[in-house]
């Protein structure tokens, strides 16, 4: 059965395609995404408090490499088969090397509903994988010896809203522990799925606006938006198996790898590689990959993870 939060996405999508007057206030969208980021962080931090942190360091290195590899592979595919110019290939690839919080949250929800556990460090992976793809993308577009304002880029990347709220939430969860968090549980944990539902309603509306752009972009973009996440998911599972993750953890890491950023990366790339067309990346990411992942991808990645690593769990 399809999860109820995904039904909200479909409602938004249909309303958007039918050109309904429905609009969410931007402040609501921002507030919901703040709640989601903090909740994911808190949950992760709470889990981390129960285990030693040092053994995580190599895992962090692993997922950073994963994100960078995805960006590189995406770039090559876009240049060779899509005949994109350097700037556009680099920009699109960076979106796919990075991650999407909303997709991650849907994955978490999917596992929760089915009672499948996953490792508490997954939210850290989410935070850590946001940035490397951006840096690789910029280098691919510009080369190393450029007048790129790296200080500003680093600032935008590492101190962006997403990273701060995720890592901040994690730190708070880690310090406070389950007991300390108890008083704020009703807001951050009990409401989580309702908040995600409304957030996905808005995502549906946003996705619906990509269709006209998509139609103009043609088949290659659609194909790339479908194949790249499948490929990335397999890479993610391989990476996760090397770390010895459970099936739940593998599914989430595959989901992370398969997901593509539509918040942090577009904003940073717009400044760093302005000649890349933002409409192109967003059409692929939002018009194809995001709906694919949350509607079909996640169950497939779980099935793949179970097949490949059944013994682990």
């Amino acid at each position: 059965m399809i999860d109820v939060v995904v039904l909200f996405f479909l409602l938004g999508l249909l309303a958007g395609l039918a050109r309904s007057e429905l609009k969410l206030p931007p402040a609501l969208y921002d507030s919901l995404s703040l709640l989601l980021l903090l909740a994911i962080g808190l949950k992760g931090g709470e889990g981390l408090a129960r285990q030693p942190l040092l053994p995580l360091l190599p895992q962090l290195g692993g997922v950073i490499l994963l994100g960078m590899a995805q960006t590189l592979i995406g770039y090559i595919a876009l240049r060779r088969f899509g005949r994109f110019d350097r700037a556009n290939a680099a920009a699109i690839a960076a979106h796919y090397g990075s991650v999407s919080v909303a997709t991650f949250a849907v994955g978490v929800n999917w596992l929760n509903v089915r009672g499948i556990a996953f490792e508490p460090q997954l939210p850290i992976f989410l935070a850590v994988m946001e940035v490397p793809a951006i840096l690789v993308g910029i280098v691919l577009a510009r080369g190393m010896a450029t007048k790129t304002d790296w200080r500003r880029i680093a600032h935008e990347s590492f101190l962006g809203k997403g990273v701060v709220l995720l890592l901040g939430g994690m730190a708070i969860g880690w310090v406070a522990g389950p007991e300390g968090l108890a008083p704020i549980r009703p807001l951050f944990f009990d409401l989580f799925k309702g908040v995600l539902a409304i957030f996905l309603l808005e995502m549906g509306l946003i996705v619906a606006r990509q269709t006209s752009e998509l139609r103009r972009r043609g088949l290659f973009v659609v194909g790339f938006g479908l194949i790249m996440p499948g490929f990335s998911a397999i890479l993610g599972i391989a990476c996760g198996m090397a770390m010895g993750l459970s099936v739940g953890g593998l599914t989430l890491l595959a989901t992370l790898a398969a997901s593509a950023s539509y918040i942090a990366v577009p904003a940073t790339m717009r400044l760093a590689v302005p000649e890349a067309n933002p409409g192109l990346s967003l059409a692929a990411v939002l018009g194809v990959t995001f709906p694919f992942n949350i509607l079909i991808g996640i169950p497939i990645y779980h099935w793949l993870a179970s097949m490949l690593a059944g013994g682990n769990s």
Partner: protein, 102 residues
């Protein structure tokens, strides 16, 4: 009643909201001292930008200054922004009091 009034120009630009910080930092370096920003939406050559989410939002920047500075800023915008960003600019004369402010 006599108000001491002098001429300045008002330079208005409408552009993508994502560049706000970096654009203002740029213009700062060229000598910009004061500005006013409002949120906006609109349509132009680069399609509809209806502010439904951050990527599709515009800002409207107003700068009251001497014509020299306005032309300096415009030249910079032409060289660094016109090609790649949704942007329009226009200017006209205005009368101001306290001319030392502008």
């Amino acid at each position: 009643m006599s108000l001491e009034i002098e001429k300045r120009v008002l330079l208005t630009l409408v552009t993508e909201a994502v560049v706000e910080q970096s654009l203002l930092a740029d213009l700062d370096r060229l000598g910009l001292r004061g500005y006013t920003v409002t949120n906006a939406r609109g349509r132009g050559n680069r399609g509809v930008r209806d502010a439904a989410w951050d990527e599709a939002a515009n800002i409207r920047v107003e700068i009251v200054c001497k014509r020299d500075l306005a032309e300096l800023l415009l030249a910079h915008l032409r060289d660094h922004y016109y090609a790649n960003y949704a942007m329009i600019t226009f200017l006209h004369e205005v009368e101001v009091m306290r001319p030392e402010k502008f």
